[in-house]
């Protein structure tokens, strides 16, 4: 069961971040040429791969209780950040992510349309930074999720599948993927990261979860329920404030 959730979490987190990265890469491709956009993407992906390869085995060597406490705490902070953002968006307190609007903004910032066969320095920097920063969270999730269960490869497969999916769809549509239910995915990933974080941090501190591994399902259900209740409450407040 843990393996399935591991792959799903890595896949969903990667999908959300790669859709955001694709928007930036498309904007650079359209304005500064595809050579610039694709070479920057390839360089950023190589750096991310190097981070996973370097830190994955290193983290796996830590004693399991220490690893679970540290990774659990970090996943908790990350998961709560994702949940917070997704809840604020779902309840109307924060604008939903609009890939079309971001795409137009990036195109404008890069100085309008007009492609070139040569690599453009500014375009390269924008695309490289976009892919690297969006990908760093994915790399972190893959390394920590994978290392805690000694399954970095499995987590990497989940993340890699999402990258391939986004790249293939991006090649065909050549437009920002505005129809991906990004906030819902962000909510699911937030619930999973927070739940795994609670479970592992608890185990790292020596807590005995009732039902052992099965407690994870209960924690996921609890975090999802709390999130739904918070959305409902904030929606009411949002309407009152409007």
């Amino acid at each position: 069961m843990r393996e399935v959730v591991l792959v799903l979490a890595a896949f969903a987190a990667s999908l959300v971040e790669m859709v955001e990265a694709l928007t930036i890469v498309l904007a650079v491709g359209v304005t500064k040429g595809w050579r610039t956009a694709l070479s920057a993407t390839a360089t950023a992906l190589a750096v991310l791969l190097a981070i996973i390869v370097a830190f994955g085995p290193l983290i796996s060597k830590l004693p399991l209780p220490v690893l679970r406490l540290v990774v659990g705490a970090l996943l908790l902070v990350f998961g709560l950040q994702w949940l917070r953002k997704a809840i604020l968006r779902a309840s109307g307190w924060k604008a939903l992510h609009d890939e079309d609007a971001i795409f137009e903004r990036e195109v404008e910032a890069l100085g309008g349309e007009g492609t070139s066969a040569r690599i453009d320095g500014k375009g390269f920097a924008v695309a490289f930074k976009g892919v690297l920063l969006e990908g760093l969270e994915v790399a972190f999730i893959v390394v920590t999720f994978g290392a805690t269960q000694h399954r970095v490869g499995l987590a990497a497969i989940g993340a890699g599948a999402a990258v391939v999916l986004v790249v293939v769809v991006g090649l065909f549509v050549h437009r920002p993927l505005a129809r991906v239910p990004e906030n819902s995915l962000k909510m699911v990933v937030g619930v999973l990261l927070t739940s795994f974080g609670m479970f592992w941090a608890g185990e790292g501190l020596g807590a005995k979860w009732p039902g052992s591994d099965a407690a994870l399902l209960g924690i996921i259900a609890w975090v999802a329920l709390v999130s739904a209740l918070l959305i409902s409450r904030l929606r009411t407040r949002s309407k009152v404030a409007a």
């Binding site: 705490a73 709560l80 609670m198 501190l205 020596g206 807590a207 924690i219 709390v226 918070l230 949002s238």
Partner: protein
């Protein structure tokens, strides 16, 4: 936000802190507090419930702060 005048090492530290802490520092501090309480309680009785109760409270407080400081 990082200033371009800061030394590169400090800028890297800034970026790492920004990456881990994110939009609301209260979440990171809240998680540390909940984990410390879990560790302290765990010495006496079962402690899993501290996480189950404490983590939603941290999220709730952070959301209340966000909606108070950014009324739409």
């Amino acid at each position: 936000m990082t200033s371009p005048k800061r030394p590169w090492l400090l800028r890297i530290v800034d970026a790492i802190v920004d990456f881990v802490v994110g939009d609301d520092w209260l979440l990171a501090v809240g998680v540390i507090v909940v984990l410390c309480i879990t560790a302290l309680v765990g010495r006496a009785v079962g402690s899993w419930w501290v996480l189950v109760v404490g983590v939603p409270i941290v999220l709730f407080v952070s959301l209340m702060r966000a909606t108070r400081s950014h009324p739409s």
